[in-house]
């Protein structure tokens, strides 16, 4: 049997596959179709202090091998979550990470403090990288000092795993990874969506109401791999790789470039059982290749660093 588990602080994940925020709801919506207990963990839809309506219609557009979204953090708010969603999440036998989005540092702190008392919440992922809202989101995520400040403020409020979700929409993601590592984050997850756009040539209108949105899906996997590799070269804290993963092979690529675990996002929409299949496929690949622990793949890329262009900016 291949060992698949890993730990963040004292939280043990049974395998290295998690479902990404916004692609698995609050856990209960998909319970008839997929056994979430087969996963390393689930990450909730982003929660803010108050419910958010989200952006006007024109929120989704399919593009080549991917999709654009501009949901605008539509969510039920943290109080509704505690009352109506947490009781179900308590019954799960897997790690539950709550994703938090906010438009001020105080709001991040308030939401985290309220949830930190809940035993069913195992940890936090902080969304400082949503490209689809005017306040918060990218205005924090593209500002290295603000990202670090949010991290250190939240670090003081919780002993649970604190993961900062980083945007690829910056020049050097390694600077952000280093800043949040110094500020006390337990891990970084990347990448959030890549800013993108699509146009309807008949109406001459953008296909998203907010003109631009976030690109996800298999189309962004090469970008995500490069960003994860860059971050892995610059920090020692664990990295959770995200971006277009559709198969166990894709997931193993992320481990090789330095991710300790991965998140599956867009593919959950396409095939609700994709994440479970990927977790099983990773273990099977390891067993076939006589690898006793998936940890052996992490950062095991055989690259000639001497020729790596990336080294010049690390």
């Amino acid at each position: 049997m291949t060992k698949t588990s890993f730990k963040l602080r004292d939280v043990e994940f049974k395998n290295r596959v998690l479902v990404a925020s916004g692609t698995f709801g609050y856990g209960d919506e998909l319970k008839d179709l997929v056994d979430v207990n087969m996963l390393g963990g689930m990450i909730t839809k982003s929660l803010s202090w108050k419910p958010r309506d989200g952006n006007p219609p024109g929120r989704i557009a399919e593009t080549t091998g991917g999709m654009l979204n501009s949901i605008g953090l539509a969510n039920i708010g943290v109080h509704h979550f505690v009352k109506d969603k947490l009781p179900y999440l308590k019954t799960l036998n897997t790690v539950v990470i709550v994703n938090i989005a906010a438009s001020s540092i105080d709001e991040y702190c308030d939401v985290l403090s309220l949830l930190d008392q809940e035993a069913a919440v195992d940890g936090f992922e902080i969304n400082v990288s949503c490209p689809n809202v005017k306040e918060g989101g990218l205005s924090f995520g593209t500002d290295c000092d603000a990202t670090a400040e949010i991290t250190s403020r939240l670090r003081r409020l919780t002993e649970k795993p604190l993961i900062i979700k980083l945007t690829p929409n910056v020049t050097h993601v390694s600077e952000f990874a280093k800043a949040v590592a110094r500020a006390g984050a337990d891990a970084v997850s990347l990448i959030n969506t890549v800013i993108g756009m699509a146009v309807d040539i008949k109406t001459r209108k953008p296909r998203l109401s907010t003109v631009t949105g976030g690109l996800s899906g298999p189309a962004i996997k090469p970008i995500a791999l490069a960003k994860v590799y860059e971050a892995a070269q610059s920090v020692d804290i664990p990295i959770i790789g995200i971006g277009g993963i559709a198969s166990a092979e894709d997931a193993l690529e992320f481990l090789l470039v330095g991710a300790s675990a991965v998140q599956i996002g867009t593919m959950n929409y396409v095939d609700p059982s994709a994440s479970v299949k990927i977790a099983q496929g990773m273990a099977e690949f390891a067993a076939r290749n006589n690898v006793g622990d998936l940890a052996e793949f992490v950062g095991a890329l055989d690259a000639n660093v001497e020729f790596s262009v990336l080294q010049s900016w690390l």
């Binding site: 709801g25 219609p57 929120r59 557009a61 080549t64 999709m67 095939d271 609700p272």
Partner: protein, 256 residues
């Protein structure tokens, strides 16, 4: 709701560029209610990446049918499926039409491929209403598909078949010259047609359910990709996939 790898059991071009694909799924066939939909993955590749939603058109024993025209790569692939090939089907999804009580006359109004949910509605409602009147509009007579419907009034933009003009104009003429007892309108079609139908329903004070389309990824309320603005209520938006695709026309704001 199930996710099934279903076998295609039939494919026909039933009108010019309009295809019916039949597939076997006991669960979907036996549990689908009129107005509900299935979300179909046409292949294992990434082009197209997402599933495509289709109204459940008709059910018979352990088989269900969808109807569509070719608008992109997904529907092109689907139109070329041969019996025996597989499709990945998720459903039934969404909220069905409200037709349970107090309706004596069901008035179904379809624009183009908006005909999709009405064979199943006809099938399920036939024995509980006194009268069904069905208005089906298309650009031209060759694109008109009116099978499995009752008391069909056809309308075409070019007048090659039936009434010359829009299906809503035809319904207005009908309502002027006919008495209908406890009617309810069920509409499906392009947004411009739904606007006109919704206005007409208000004018004649007839209850009206509309089946909407929306760009969606999951079809299950997770991606939040398919909002429709509400007239009032505690939240600003409903979702086409779970709160709909059928809505009371008085409760939503149709897009311009």
């Amino acid at each position: 709701m199930v996710q099934e790898i279903a076998t295609v059991t039939g494919r026909n071009e039933v009108a010019d560029g309009i295809y019916v694909v039949k597939f076997s799924s006991a669960h979907i066939s036996r549990t689908s209610l009129p107005g509900q939909f299935v979300n179909v993955r046409v292949g294992n590749g990434f082009l197209p990446l997402l599933r495509r939603p289709f109204s459940v058109c008709r059910t018979q024993d352990d088989e269900a049918e969808i109807v569509f025209n070719i608008v992109g790569e997904g529907t092109r692939i689907l139109s070329e499926k041969e019996p025996g090939e597989k499709i990945d089907v998720l459903g039934p999804l969404g909220t069905p039409f409200g037709y349970q009580k107090g309706v004596d006359t069901a008035i179904m109004v379809a624009g183009g491929l908006g005909v999709a949910p009405f064979p199943l509605l006809t099938q399920k409602i036939r024995n509980q209403v006194k009268r069904i009147e069905t208005f089906v509009g298309a650009a031209t007579g060759r694109k008109l598909w009116t099978e499995h419907l009752e008391n069909v009034h056809a309308a075409t933009d070019d007048g090659t078949k039936g009434f010359r003009g829009t299906v809503v104009a035809q319904l207005a003429e009908f309502l002027e010259s006919n008495k209908v007892l406890h009617p309810k309108i069920f509409g499906c079609g392009p947004t411009r047609m739904l606007h006109a139908l919704s206005d007409l329903a208000k004018r004649y004070e007839i209850a009206c359910d509309l089946s909407l389309e929306g760009d969606m990824a999951c079809g299950m309320g997770i991606c939040q990709g398919c909002p429709v603005e509400r007239v009032n209520g505690t939240k600003k938006y409903s979702l086409v996939c779970t709160d709909g695709p059928t809505f009371d026309s008085r409760e939503i704001v149709l897009q311009a």
